[in-house]
C-alpha cells in the first residue's frame, strides 16, 4: 500500500503544476500585473510610480513565464510563475495582495467556521439520505416509494439559493427561531449554525436520497439478497447487513473524495449566513481580484481533492476484500 500511496503522491506533482499553470494563465489572460496594481491601489490619485512600487513589492515586476534577460536556469526561475508557484508546494502562501494579511494565518483561522458548518451537513446529511433511501428501498414499488421519489425529484429541482432565502424568511424572519445570519466562537456558534446546517441537509436531500435509493434498489434485486431472504433473515438484517454493505463501493466513491475538501467551505451558504469561512474568503478574493489568495485556494483545493481520491482508493480495500493495490 505504501508504494501505491507514494506513487500517487508523485503523480500529483505534475497535476498540481498544471493546475497552477492553468490558474496562472486564466488569471493573466484578463489581467496584467499593472491592472492588478491599479485594482489594489484604487482609482483615486494613483501615480505611475505607485504602480511600479506595488509591482516591485509584490514581485510582479518580472516576466510572466520566461525571463529572456536572465542567464541559464534563471530564465525560467526568475519569473512571476516560478516564484509564485514553487512556494505553494511548501505550503507557504504569502500575503494577500488586497490587504497584506498572511494567507496561511487566514486559512488556519477560517477553516474552523467552514468545518463547523460542513461537518454536520456532511455527516447528518449522509445519515438522513441513506436512511431515507433505505426506507424507500424497503417500501419499493409502493405508494410510499413513489411519493418519496417524487419528493426527491421535486427537492432536487429547487436551487440551493431558494432554500437559503426561503429558510431565512420562514425560520428567522417570520418565526424568529434562530438568528438569520452571523457567527460566534465556541459553543455560541451553535445558534447560528442550526439554520444553515438544516438548509444544507435539505438542499442535498433530494439528489442524495434518490441516488442512494437507486443503489439500494439495484442491490436488492441481486441473488444474494434473495438467498438471504430465503434463509429467513429479517428485512432489516438484509438491508443493513447485506444491501448497505454491498452498496458501499459506489457510496464511498462519492463520499470519501469530498471529506478533505469539506474545510474549503461553502461559497454561497457562508456568504448568505455571514459565516467567516474559507468559502466566503475565496469569493471575496475573486471579487477583489486577489490573485495570491485565489492561487492559494485553488492549489489547496487541488491538493485536497487528490488526497480525497487517494483516500477513496484506500477505503475500497476496507469495504471490499477483492480490491487489492497492484
Amino acid at each position: 500500500m505504501t508504494a501505491y500511496i507514494v506513487r500517487r503522491i508523485l503523480y500529483a506533482i505534475p497535476i498540481l503544476v498544471l493546475v497552477n499553470l492553468l490558474t496562472f494563465a486564466l488569471f493573466f489572460v484578463v489581467n496584467t500585473p499593472e491592472d492588478m496594481a491599479r485594482m489594489q491601489l484604487g482609482a483615486k490619485r494613483v501615480t505611475p510610480e505607485a504602480i511600479e512600487k506595488w509591482k516591485i513589492e509584490h514581485g510582479y515586476d518580472r516576466p510572466l513565464l520566461w525571463n529572456a534577460k536572465a542567464e541559464g536556469l534563471e530564465k525560467a526561475t526568475r519569473t512571476i510563475f516560478f516564484e509564485k508557484s514553487v512556494k505553494l508546494f511548501t505550503l507557504s502562501f504569502g500575503a494577500s495582495e488586497a490587504d497584506k494579511r498572511d494567507i496561511g494565518n487566514e486559512i488556519k483561522t477560517r477553516m474552523w467556521p467552514s468545518l463547523a458548518l460542513a461537518i454536520p451537513v456532511f455527516l447528518v446529511g449522509l445519515a438522513v439520505n441513506i436512511t431515507f433511501a433505505l426506507f424507500l428501498a424497503f417500501f419499493r414499488a409502493t405508494y410510499l416509494d413513489y411519493s418519496g421519489v417524487v419528493l426527491c425529484v421535486a427537492m432536487m429541482s429547487v436551487s440551493t439559493l431558494f432554500y437559503i432565502i426561503g429558510g431565512q424568511y420562514l425560520v428567522s424572519k417570520l418565526w424568529h427561531l434562530v438568528p438569520i445570519s452571523g457567527y460566534d466562537e465556541g459553543l455560541d456558534a451553535a445558534k447560528f449554525l442550526v439554520l444553515p446546517v438544516v438548509i444544507g441537509i435539505i438542499s442535498s436531500f433530494g439528489s442524495g436520497g434518490r441516488f442512494y435509493r437507486t443503489l439500494f434498489v439495484e442491490e436488492m434485486g441481486k441473488d444474494y439478497v434473495r438467498t438471504a431472504r430465503a434463509k429467513g433473515l429479517a428485512e432489516t438484517t438484509v438491508l443493513f447487513r447485506h444491501v448497505l454493505k454491498n452498496a458501499m463501493i459506489p457510496i464511498l466513491t462519492g463520499v470519501v473524495v469530498v471529506i478533505p475538501t469539506l474545510f474549503l467551505g461553502s461559497l454561497i451558504a457562508e456568504s448568505f449566513f455571514g459565516i467567516p469561512g474559507l468559502g466566503s474568503y475565496t469569493i471575496d478574493a475573486i471579487q477583489a481580484q486577489d490573485f495570491a489568495v485565489v492561487r492559494a485556494m485553488v492549489f489547496l483545493g487541488s491538493v485536497l481533492y487528490i488526497i480525497g481520491l487517494v483516500l477513496t482508493d484506500i477505503s475500497y480495500t476496507l469495504v471490499d476484500p477483492r480490491v487489492r493495490f497492484g
Binding site: R38, D99, D102, F139, L144, I180, P276
Partner: protein, 701 residues
C-alpha cells in the same frame, strides 16, 4: 426507560423550553450578557483593506479609522455648509505667506491642545518593544500583552505621520499630491528608499523632513510650495493624524506581520474609541478609550436641528456609547431583516426594499411607510458630495471638441437624456439631476432659477423643466444630423457608450440609454468592458461616451471644478481627474484664479462664469448627485447625515432599555411550525413503522 434517541429529544426539548424562559429572544444574535448595555450595533459589507492612516482612503475604512485617529481638524457635526473646526488643534491654522528666493511659500503652524493622551496600548510599554517571536506567536491580539501604557500626544507624533506618507514600504495615495506641495517631501521619499533595509525598522525620527518642523512640544510647522488653501481640509483627514513612533516600532518586530499584527490592522490613536476586536471577516469592535479627554456635544447647528432634538445633548461630554459592534453582512437580505428585528441600529435602503420603506408624495417628498413609522424608524436623507455624469471624450472627432457642430450635437443629447426618468426608474428617485459640476452644499453651487442649466432646461412655473425633444431634434439637424443621419454621407449616426455595466441586471439600464439616444434617431452601441479595460480606455482617450463619478475629498469647489481642468486631462496626464479630457483656455485660466481664493463674492463670480462655460461647451451630457437615504431606529439619538465627517460615532446616543424591550416585542418565537413539523414527521413515520411491522409478521407468499 426511554431509548437514547428519545432521551436526546427530550433533553433538546427541555433546552428549547429553557431558552424560551430566558429573556433574550431565540434569534438574538449577540451575547445575552450584552442585552441592555450601552452598545451600538451596525454593519460593514466589505472587508476594510487598510486601517493605517497613511494608506486608508476608502469610506468603509473611515468608519473605523476616524473613531480612533484624530487629525488636527474636523468638520462641525451639525452646521451646514460644512465648517472646519479644531479637533486636537487649538485653532484652525491660517496660512502665512513667505517669499523666499523669488518663490512663495505657505507656512502653517499647527498648535495642539495640551493634555491629550493616547489610548492604553502595549506599544507604550518599553518592555514590549523587544518581544521574542515565541511570545508574539502565542498572542491572539496585541492587547493580550500585559501592562498597557499611554503617554501624552505631542507635535512629534504628527511630524512622524507626515513622514510616513513617504515611507517606501507604504502606499500612501496622497504621497504624489503632497509631494507637489510639502517642501522636500519628494526628495525625502528618495532618501528613505536608500535608507530602508529589509527586515529592519526605519526610524523616521532620525531622518528630518525639510518642510515639516517641530516648533515646540505642542506645535509643528508645515511649509508648502506656493499657495494651497485646500491644505487645511487635508488636515481633517487621517493622513495627518498623529502616529507615535512606539507604535511603528512595536509592529515592526519580527513575527508580528505573520500574525496580522500590523499598523494596517491595529490602529493606535487618541480618539474616543479604540479597536479592541479586529476580525474583518466577521466582527469589528470599537470600545470607549478610557483616556479620552472628553469633548462637548455641539451647542449650535443649522435651523431645524433644535426642533429635531439634535441639540438636546448640547454641552454634554462625548462619547455617549460605550462600545460599537460592527458585524459583517455581505448579503442584503439578512442585513435588512436584522435591522427590522432591531438587531442593527442603522441601515441603508436597498432598491428591492425601497417601496416597503419609503413613499414619495405628490410633491416629491420622501416619507416612511406607515409600517416603518409604527416601528419608530426614522428616515434621514442627504445629498452626497458626489457627481455621476455621462461624459463625452473631448478628443473624439464626432462628439468631442469645440466645433459648433459637436457642441450642438452635445446640446441635443443633453436635452434628450432624461435624468429625472433615470433617477425615478433606477434609483427610486434617490438623486437630483446636476446642473453644474458642483454638488449641492458646496460653495459656489446655485439653486433654483439662478442655478438651472439653460442648455437642457427651461424655467416655467417656478421650476426647471427639460426642454422639449423638438428643440433637441432641431439642434441635431443644425449639427448636420437631421433625423439621426449624417447630412454629408447619409449614413446613420452611431455613437458608442463604454460601460462596465455588463451583468444581466444591467440590461434594463443599457436599454434605457439606447432609448434616450433613439429619441433623436441616433443609434447607441454599448461597448461593455471590464473595469481594468475601461480604465485603460480612459487613460488612452479611446472612449467616446462613458459614465463616471467623483466623490469629493473636501467641500471646496476646487475639488469639483478640477474635473474639467485641461492639465488634468486623463489622456495627457495618467493621474489626471479630467476623464473627459476637456480643454477650454478661459475655463483653465479662471480655474487657476479660483482655486487659491478664499470663499468670497469674487470667487462666486468666477465659479458662475466657469459654470456658464461648462454649460455652453457641455462636455458632460448631464448627470446627477445621489441622495443618500439612511434609516435609524427611534432609540438612536443625535443621528444626522454628514457627508464630510466620518468621526460621527462619538455623537450618537442609544436608549438601550427601550431597544431591548422592542427587540423582545418584535422577536417573540413562533413555535407552532416546529410542533407542526414534528407532527408531520410522526404522521409519516408511524404508518411506515406499522406497515414495516405488519410486513415482518406476514407469512411468505
Amino acid at each position: 426507560m426511554p431509548s437514547p434517541a428519545l432521551r436526546a429529544l427530550l433533553i433538546a426539548a427541555a433546552l428549547a423550553l429553557l431558552a424560551g424562559c430566558s429573556e433574550a429572544p431565540w434569534n438574538y444574535p449577540y451575547s445575552a450578557a450584552d442585552r441592555d448595555r450601552n452598545i451600538l450595533y451596525s454593519v460593514f459589507v466589505d472587508r476594510p483593506k487598510h486601517l493605517d492612516p497613511a494608506q486608508s482612503y476608502a469610506s468603509d475604512e473611515a468608519v473605523f479609522t476616524r473613531q480612533v485617529y484624530e487629525p488636527p481638524l474636523q468638520y462641525h457635526y451639525l452646521k451646514r455648509p460644512y465648517e472646519l473646526i479644531p479637533l486636537t488643534a487649538a485653532a484652525v491654522p491660517q496660512a502665512r505667506l513667505v517669499e523666499k528666493n523669488g518663490a512663495t511659500y505657505s507656512v502653517y503652524d499647527v498648535r495642539i491642545q495640551p493634555g491629550i493622551r493616547y489610548q492604553p496600548h502595549p506599544a507604550f510599554n518599553p518592555a514590549h518593544l523587544a518581544l521574542d517571536r515565541a511570545t508574539i506567536a502565542g498572542l491572539r491580539s496585541p492587547y493580550d500583552l500585559p501592562a498597557h501604557a499611554a503617554r501624552e500626544l505631542t507635535a512629534d507624533d504628527y511630524i512622524y505621520q507626515i513622514k510616513r506618507l513617504a515611507h517606501p514600504q507604504l502606499h500612501s495615495p496622497i504621497f504624489g499630491l503632497m509631494s507637489e506641495y510639502i517642501v522636500g517631501l519628494k526628495e525625502y521619499g528618495e532618501r528613505l528608499k536608500k535608507a530602508a533595509r529589509p527586515g529592519t525598522w526605519l526610524d523616521l525620527r532620525e531622518h528630518p523632513l525639510e518642510g515639516v518642523e517641530r516648533v515646540d512640544a505642542q506645535t509643528y510647522r508645515v511649509t508648502l510650495k506656493g499657495r494651497y488653501p485646500q491644505f487645511v481640509y487635508w488636515l481633517a483627514m487621517p493622513f495627518f493624524a498623529p502616529m507615535p513612533w512606539e507604535a511603528d516600532r512595536f509592529f515592526s518586530q519580527a513575527g508580528m506581520a505573520e500574525k496580522n499584527f500590523t499598523l494596517d490592522w491595529w490602529p493606535i490613536g487618541t480618539g474616543p474609541y479604540m479597536l479592541r476586536q479586529n476580525n474583518p471577516n466577521a466582527r469589528m469592535v470599537l470600545e470607549r478609550n478610557p483616556n479620552f479627554r472628553g469633548e462637548p456635544y455641539p451647542a449650535e447647528g443649522e435651523p431645524g436641528d433644535a426642533a429635531a432634538g439634535l441639540l438636546a445633548d448640547a454641552g454634554k461630554r462625548m462619547p455617549f456609547v460605550d462600545r460599537a459592534v460592527f458585524t459583517r453582512e455581505k448579503e442584503g437580505i439578512p442585513l435588512w431583516n436584522k435591522f427590522l428585528q432591531g438587531y442593527y441600529d442603522v441601515s441603508g435602503i436597498q432598491s428591492d426594499t425601497f417601496d416597503q420603506v419609503v413613499r414619495i408624495s405628490v410633491e416629491g417628498d420622501a416619507n416612511l411607510t406607515p409600517e416603518m413609522e409604527r416601528r419608530g424608524i426614522e428616515l434621514r436623507t442627504s445629498i452626497a458630495a458626489t457627481v455621476f455624469y455621462l461624459s463625452v471624450n473631448w478628443l473624439d472627432p464626432v462628439v468631442g471638441g469645440n466645433s459648433e457642430r459637436a457642441r450642438k450635437l452635445r446640446h441635443a443629447l443633453a436635452i434628450a437624456t432624461d435624468w429625472e426618468e433615470y433617477l425615478s426608474i433606477f434609483a427610486n428617485g434617490r438623486g437630483v439631476p446636476s446642473h453644474s459640476p458642483l454638488a449641492p452644499g458646496i460653495f459656489g453651487y446655485r439653486d433654483g432659477r439662478d442655478g438651472f442649466n439653460p442648455v437642457a432646461y427651461e424655467w416655467r412655473g417656478g421650476q426647471a423643466h427639460r426642454r422639449p425633444i423638438e428643440q433637441a431634434k432641431k439642434l441635431l439637424a443644425e449639427a448636420g444630423y437631421r433625423d439621426g443621419r449624417d447630412a454629408k454621407t447619409g449614413q446613420p449616426l452611431v455613437l458608442y457608450l463604454d460601460t462596465t455595466s455588463r451583468g444581466p441586471g444591467d440590461k434594463p439600464r443599457l436599454d434605457w440609454w439606447r432609448k434616450q439616444f433613439a429619441k433623436l434617431s441616433i443609434q447607441l452601441e454599448v461597448r461593455e468592458t471590464d473595469w481594468n479595460r475601461f480604465q485603460e480606455k480612459l487613460r488612452k482617450g479611446t472612449t467616446q461616451i462613458f459614465i463616471v463619478g467623483w466623490s469629493a475629498d473636501y467641500p471646496d469647489p476646487e475639488n469639483f471644478m478640477f474635473l474639467l481642468h485641461g492639465v488634468q486631462g486623463r489622456a495627457r496626464n495618467e493621474q489626471g481627474v479630467n476623464a473627459s479630457n476637456y480643454v477650454n483656455p478661459e475655463y483653465d485660466a479662471l480655474f487657476e484664479r479660483m482655486r487659491n481664493m478664499p470663499n468670497s463674492p469674487e470667487r462666486q463670480r468666477i465659479i458662475d462664469r466657469m459654470t456658464e462655460i461648462f454649460r455652453h461647451d457641455s462636455p458632460w451630457i448631464g448627470g446627477f448627485h445621489p441622495k443618500n437615504y439612511s434609516l435609524a431606529h427611534g432609540w438612536l439619538a443625535n443621528s444626522k447625515p454628514n457627508e464630510m465627517a466620518d468621526n460621527t460615532l462619538k455623537y450618537l446616543r442609544v436608549d438601550a432599555p427601550r431597544r431591548d424591550a422592542l427587540r423582545n416585542q418584535w422577536n417573540e418565537p413562533v413555535v407552532w411550525p416546529l410542533l407542526l413539523a414534528l407532527a408531520v414527521l410522526a404522521a409519516a413515520v408511524v404508518p411506515a413503522v406499522v406497515s414495516y411491522r405488519r410486513r415482518e409478521r406476514m407469512s411468505a407468499r
